[in-house]
Point group: C2
Chain length 194, copies 2
């Protein structure tokens, strides 16, 4: 399969890490958001949403949305808990990530690192909600080594992606000790080098 | 199980409709977002995210995030396609709903209907992205009776929730004929009366 992805996007790296962890062969097609390579006519024909990551399977079928892709790739693997409730909690984190974490933590990083906005000029609501998300993670991880009680899962893959880069958006992770320790555990487990 | 939900919230109604469609008994606990019933100490102890819907199972375990809840409740039912790729496409729509549809269509409706903002004063970006989401749905539904080719699924349950109320946020659905016809099909299939 081909993964259309941007190496500066945590959403895209989730797909790469999941593929590597599960030994799924892939070809990476670097597709820059900043250069608007996701807005060309050719790319929009593959993904009308104009977003990466996008996976194109060998039979030509496509799949978008980072968390849908990793759920599909990891089906039946150790990255998805077998107990129904644990699996549901993993899904809870995956949806929470896209609605209550990524729009603050990832967006702040993009604005600061790629759009050149000074941290002090970030919208206060963005900063407040980002810290809210980090607090929520820290409270959970103070009691549990991974987000779902059963162990490492896609919830950790998805949440670590932008959390490990939070400082690039001006979020100091020092007060979030449980988060910092968890990032190290997940990076080791997934052999993350990017 | 108890469903803590707000009857004016499409996210909450998804859980009710799924339970009814599958014959799962539930007690509905009306929990008003506008009255800040989701921000009380008691509620935050149940769901630290301070959001509805929240399900509390008979054994006391909890589950949040509307799309995680309906995926859990519907596991093994006709609302989840059996073929792996169809299931993945359903997941793609569920994540797209929360990231690229609800933040525009539902937020505009909330601002207009519950916060009293005139439609003309909605943020242009909100309106533009809302129409983008409706266009995407319309393009898909012009070729297919339901969002996933295999038939009615949770993708329709999730997307119909706020799409059927889009006019309350100032989005005229008349130009989206395929969307309008699909809303009718899904309402009939799910026996939606709310």
């Amino acid at each position: 399969m081909r993964i259309y992805g941007d190496s500066i996007s945590g959403n895209c790296l989730k797909v790469k890490w999941t593929s590597k962890a599960l030994g799924i062969p892939y070809a990476w097609v670097e597709t820059s958001v900043v250069d608007r390579a996701t807005r060309t006519k050719e790319f929009l024909a593959l993904n009308p949403a104009g977003q990466v990551p996008l996976v194109v399977f060998d039979d030509g079928r496509t799949l978008a949305e980072s968390n849908a892709i990793i759920l599909h790739l990891a089906e039946g693997s150790h990255l998805i808990p077998t107990a129904a409730y644990d699996r549901a909690r993993m899904l809870q984190w995956l949806f929470w990530e896209q609605y209550s974490h990524e729009p603050y933590i990832a967006v702040a990083r993009f604005q600061v690192k790629y759009a050149g906005k000074p941290v002090a000029e970030l919208e206060p609501r963005l900063v407040e909600r980002g810290h809210g998300a980090l607090t929520r993670l820290n409270d959970t991880l103070a009691d549990s080594p991974f987000l779902v009680a059963s162990g490492l899962s896609l919830a950790d893959v998805a949440l670590v992606a932008y959390t490990r880069w939070a400082h690039e958006g001006g979020f100091d992770l020092a007060p979030y000790a449980a988060v910092t320790a968890w990032i190290g555990r997940v990076e080791t487990a997934l052999k993350i080098e990017d």
